[in-house]
């Protein structure tokens, strides 16, 4: 820990001002890498927009959008190596896509095909977690297993501000600290847990301050600042990889849309509040900086936009092609070999289906 862990856990680290200017004293980022980061931000934003549009068109049942949180979504994936693991929540579709998973596979879950549409082992991305904070413990286990085998895997574990109130958050942080597990906990503090504001979730000076009670570093970073996130998460990943244990990173960000399309955010927050955060948009900040630095021009922007459109078209097409799921698959994966009871029940369903078809 640094000399003043509490100050570190309270001060929000920032590299780019909301205006897109570099914060005084911060070294200039590598613009090549940052253009790539910007490209990913645009893709993430486009994915959020496309998925929300599909919901409005009735082609997806529900989509918890990370609009406004794209810098977190991009940074948490890009700081990882191929052998590392990502543990996302329902809100982190864009992060999973940034990790390289086909967004159609990710979204097929929300089309109702199956509980997880991608192969978690191939991509080293856990299924999107719904029961809050539970996945953080799995992340610790994956990390601890790697460490016991002498591997230098790092695990990035995501959760929201609301999830920090769950007992499993506590147990995961404590296990990680006690076992010095190679885990980076990234809390996307988007200020709301559905309708419940941060103030009802915690009266601590910051969520990162919780790290002190576990004996791990807690750092707070501007969650709409890709440069700061890359730096902060990168450092935490490096620490974990070097065997120095976990870090709790709190990203200060905002959920720009409702919790999901099923939610009505006007019941619990004001337009003014939302408007305030429009000014802190994570994309525009990088865009302004890169343009000012001469690293981004219209041509490059057009290229990026085209890639994003292509991705969006792929999502539309992929989700448009309805995938049939065989009813018998109900029984296929519950156990490695179905129990006699399941075999019997499957036979019953087969008879029913044969009858339906006849």
């Amino acid at each position: 820990m640094t000399a003043d862990p509490l100050a570190q856990a309270i001060t929000v680290a920032r590299a780019l001002e909301e205006t897109g200017e570099l914060v005084e004293g911060v070294p200039a980022p590598d613009t090549g890498a940052l253009v790539e980061g910007y490209r990913r931000l645009v893709l993430a934003r486009r994915l959020n927009e496309q998925a929300s549009a599909l919901v409005r068109q009735g082609r997806l049942a529900v989509y918890p959008s990370s609009r406004g949180q794209e810098a977190c979504q991009v940074a948490c994936a890009s700081v990882l190596g191929d052998g590392d693991w990502l543990f996302p929540t329902y809100r982190d579709t864009a992060a999973i896509a940034a990790r390289g998973v086909d967004p159609v596979e990710v979204l097929s879950m929300l089309r109702g095909d199956w509980h997880c549409g991608y192969d978690p082992v191939v991509h080293k991305v856990a299924p999107q977690a719904t029961p809050l904070a539970t996945q953080l413990l799995h992340a610790v286990g994956v990390g601890h297993a790697a460490r016991l085998r002498g591997e230098d895997t790092v695990v990035m574990a995501l959760c929201g501000d609301g999830a920090t109130s769950e007992g499993d958050f506590h147990e995961a942080c404590n296990f990680a600290a006690v076992f010095a597990a190679p885990v980076v906990f990234l809390v996307q503090n988007n200020k709301y847990a559905i309708s419940v504001p941060l103030a009802r979730q915690s009266v601590a000076p910051s969520l990162a301050a919780k790290a002190i009670g576990y004996g791990m570093p807690g750092v707070r970073v501007d969650g709409n600042d890709l440069v700061a996130l890359d730096h902060t998460l990168g450092e935490a990943v490096a620490r974990a990889r070097a065997g120095q244990g976990p870090t709790l990173v709190e990203a200060d960000t905002y959920r720009m849309e409702s919790h999901t399309n099923a939610d009505d955010a006007t019941r619990y927050r004001t337009d003014d509040e939302v408007a305030e955060w429009v000014g802190r948009d994570p994309l525009r900040r990088v865009q302004t900086y890169l343009r000012a630095a001469g690293a981004l021009d219209d041509a490059r922007e057009d290229e990026i936009a085209a890639v994003a459109e292509e991705m969006a078209a792929g999502v539309r097409a992929g989700l448009g092609a309805e995938a049939a799921v065989a009813p018998e698959e109900l029984f296929a994966h519950v156990y490695a070999t179905p129990t006699p009871q399941l075999v019997e029940q499957r036979a019953g369903l087969r008879t029913e289906l044969a009858f339906e078809e006849a």
Binding site: M109, G112, P131, G162, P327, V334
Partner: protein
């Protein structure tokens, strides 16, 4: 004179309002029950109308919610807490089994816990994983809990009032798929006793035993069977614990055949209990073994397979068909 029509969500909301008005000790809390009015709007307007002291949001922690409710009930309140979905009540399982269910017994009745745990219950809404579980077996197996599952909006109102007035802790299971369907509700009918089943449809040939969201499915099956000349009765348990042995046994003895219908996976379930009880208590009256039509013993499936998982009219009628009709007089 017909009663006003309301959805089950509205009926429950009215019950909470009436209880908050009737008794200062009643408090309502949980996740998103305040300004938002609950994700199903069951607590809509309560925060506005009764204020922060009577209806409030908590931090996001179900064990915390139930544990705090235990303490408040120990100290003179009548907490009514909401778990957002069945599966999200599981973090509170230790509080429920080790304390909610046992504190009165532990203290020889010195500390009773007049609290209600409301749980949006069961499936049929095409939800993503963890949003459609049926958890009644866990609670029904735990001595000390009262477990109630309304099937009609009128019962939703009446049983919730009764649950809040009960001196014992009640797990109150609200069928999600009913939340937004309208029915007539007589809010002036008084508080009904918990523990009484009701015959929703008399039937001479066989009895379908159901509760909560399976009741309308059983009724639809009976309707269908009637067109085919079979007279099926439908029994709505309403209360799983206490269990109304008297009404159930009387019906089955009359008809001589029974099918239990429930959404939860069948193994070691409430349906098992009903089948076992009926088989034991009506042994000499049964023309055929008691059949169970339940969810399969698999995790609740993704929306595309939901209809294959849920007990439906056809599956119920198939089961009825196996009840040894050839032997019948």
């Amino acid at each position: 004179m017909s009663e006003p029509k309301m959805t089950m969500a509205q009926a429950l909301n009215t019950a909470l309002r009436d209880a908050l008005t009737a008794d200062d000790a009643v408090v309502v809390f949980g996740e998103d029950v305040g300004a938002l009015g609950g994700v199903f709007r069951v607590t809509d307007g309560l925060h506005r109308d009764f204020g922060e002291r009577r209806c409030f949001d908590t931090p996001l922690a179900e064990s915390g919610i139930v544990g705090m409710a235990v303490g408040m009930a120990m100290n003179g309140m009548r907490p009514v807490v909401e778990m957002q979905f069945d599966a999200f009540a599981f973090p509170a399982f230790e509080q429920v089994t080790s304390h909610v269910a046992k504190l009165a017994n532990r203290t020889r009745g010195a500390l009773r816990l007049p609290m209600v745990i409301r749980i949006p219950y069961a499936g049929g809404i095409g939800g993503v994983e963890h949003h459609c579980d049926s958890s009644e077996a866990y609670y029904a197996h735990t001595p000390g809990l009262t477990v109630v599952a309304p099937a009609t909006n009128a019962d939703a109102y009446g049983l919730l009032r009764a649950a809040i007035e009960s001196p014992d802790p009640v797990v109150f299971l609200e069928p999600k798929k009913h939340y937004f369907a309208k029915e007539e509700v007589d809010v002036g009918a008084g508080v009904p006793p918990i523990g009484r089943a009701v015959v929703r449809r008399p039937g001479a040939d066989a009895t379908l035993i159901a509760y909560g969201p399976s009741v309308p499915v059983a009724l639809a099956a009976a309707e269908q069977a009637a067109t085919e000349g079979r007279d099926l009765g439908v029994l709505d348990l309403r209360s799983i614990v206490p269990f109304d042995d008297e009404t159930v046994a009387a019906e089955v003895r009359r008809s001589g055949r029974a099918v239990v219908v429930a959404e939860a996976p069948g193994f070691a379930s409430v349906a098992s209990e009903i089948a076992a009880r009926v088989s034991e208590r009506c042994f000499h009256h049964l023309e055929a073994p008691v059949r169970r039509v339940t969810g399969f013993d698999v995790p609740y499936p993704a929306p595309k397979l939901e209809r294959h998982f849920l007990p439906g009219v056809d599956r119920i009628l198939d089961a009825v068909d196996t009840l040894h009709w050839e032997d019948a007089a």
